[in-house]
Symmetry: C2
Subunit: 311 residues, 2 copies
């Protein structure tokens, strides 16, 4: 069995490669849900959906979110009623949120609903939310009149990640329990991969669920992370604007320092090979690979290199 | 002030004519909500939406439901999750149901939400649901193993109005209160029009809300109905399959008998002029007019004739 911790699009692209080089039915993907939010009364799980849609081959290939060939007719309709529409929900995508919301209201846990959604898309890997409880990433930014708390999507999408970050916290995390299968997967997996996701707001919330960090630390020699930072910049997303204010260097070395207690190895990009010794000095085995996943073939090679790092 | 009792498409087309010949801001439309149902977790009010969309000039012109130029991408997406999709909800239409559902969940009464929706579509008439309480039309049909209860939309849309009707009831009606403004409009209106809607399942539920029938009876000489039956058949919808089993003749005379306690006049089609004396013998003033509303011009003439009947 193989386990993976995943955020959104970067993780999803890596997972596309991973299922090409391993038995997908042996893979358990633990996904961040602290970006989940409610729009128009619907429960939206951006990272779960990015992983499911991407693994299903249905994701929009370049944008980094949503389904390919989407329309936005319903959202246009919601403008009439004055609903905020900065969070773009496509018409087909809405079906997922409607289904999820109705099932959650009926009392089904998110993990059960996620399994149903993954099955509906014909996925072989098991997709598991980090928790069935509500955890919310809150980004505190510097406002004109002092610090302001924003929900993750407000900061990232509505405000385009522009307001300077002062702090990040995960409301509800301390009381959350790992979803069924999360700790079991970490304990039983031959290898655990921390996907190339934002260490602060994608992997950070998963680690904040009580028991997860400890479980990973116990399996440290079997845990390998892929750096989402190449040559001092994130491939996609706002990692730089989140890591620096929290005192984490925006580099593979910063990623290594954030993961040093839970990872035995770090895969870093060839562009960062000169920093491998710094990663090693933090106690992580450094593996140099091509990490910019321009297509599924590169992602598959990266997945193979990643698995080899802790083989 | 002018009041109207309305069901779905037939009423909506009549109201299009009515707003052309009167001051629309003086019109209060009381709409049936016993066809309301929940699909995919969303509160759908078919008659309210037909009235709003039609008065806004946004309704699909021939189909009898929904918005013009609709797409059904979300519904197609819901098929993947095994949701029943026989009730066709368009992508733009879904925006209305999302908005309504979210507002109702937040505690707003349906009458307040309906006013907001009508305002969003720029309507001048006041659109009022018959009640803010939940009333549900239940159609009991003859099944292979005895009587079966179906929700209105199940019988009408899913089963295409085919199962033979044994009985109709309005669950919740006895405990329902008229929405704010309903009784006031009936009491204050110079004229009250019962639109050409199904007398059993469109107007019937409105009359079943305690206080409404009594209020209309007190204003009987100012109440005029338009027969939805022309030459023994409904213009649209299943009125014939509902009236006959309940012992109401499928004709303008049957309509007159159903309304005799609340209406002082009935507008019947020129094709039924030979039955005018039978209507008169039931105590209703019979007015012959062209009632098949092939366009807004015909509807406006019909509206003028209708108002003149009790002037």
């Amino acid at each position: 069995m193989l386990a993976a911790l995943a955020g959104g699009v970067g993780a999803a692209r890596f997972l596309r490669g991973l299922v090409g080089v391993t038995d997908p039915s042996e893979l358990v993907v633990v996904v961040n849900t602290a970006d989940d939010d409610v729009f128009h009364g619907l429960h939206v799980s951006p990272d779960l959906d990015s992983v499911v849609y991407t693994l299903a081959g249905a994701a929009e290939p370049t944008r980094g979110w949503g389904l390919a060939g989407e329309t936005f007719r319903c959202l246009e309709g919601l403008e009439r009623y004055g609903n905020p529409t900065w969070f773009r929900l496509g018409d087909r995508d809405l079906a997922t949120h409607l289904y999820r919301t109705e099932r959650l209201r009926a009392g089904a846990p998110l993990s059960a609903v996620t399994a149903e959604v993954a099955r509906a898309w014909g996925l072989q890997p098991r997709i598991v939310p980090m928790t069935d409880d509500r955890v919310s990433t809150v980004v505190t930014v510097r406002g004109p009149d002092g610090p302001v708390d924003l929900a993750m999507q407000e900061w990232f999408v509505r405000e385009r990640a522009e307001p300077p970050v002062v702090a990040v916290r995960f409301d509800g995390a301390a009381a959350a329990r790992p979803a069924p299968g999360v700790l079991e997967a970490i304990e039983a997996a031959g290898t655990i991969v921390v996907c190339p996701s934002n260490p602060v707001i994608s992997i950070g919330p998963i680690l904040a669920v009580p028991g997860v960090r400890e479980a990973l630390a116990r399996r440290r020699e079997h845990v390998v992370a892929v750096s989402p930072i190449i040559a001092g910049a994130p491939v996609k997303g706002p990692a730089d604007r989140l890591m620096a204010p929290l005192g984490i260097e925006v580099s593979c070395v910063g990623v290594a320092s954030a993961y040093r207690d839970i990872c035995g190895a770090l895969v870093l990009d060839a562009a960062d090979r000169h920093r491998a010794s710094e990663v090693e000095s933090l106690g992580l085995h450094a593996v140099v690979a091509e990490t910019l996943m321009t297509d599924d073939r590169v992602a598959a090679t990266l997945a193979r290199d990643t698995l080899a790092a802790v083989a």
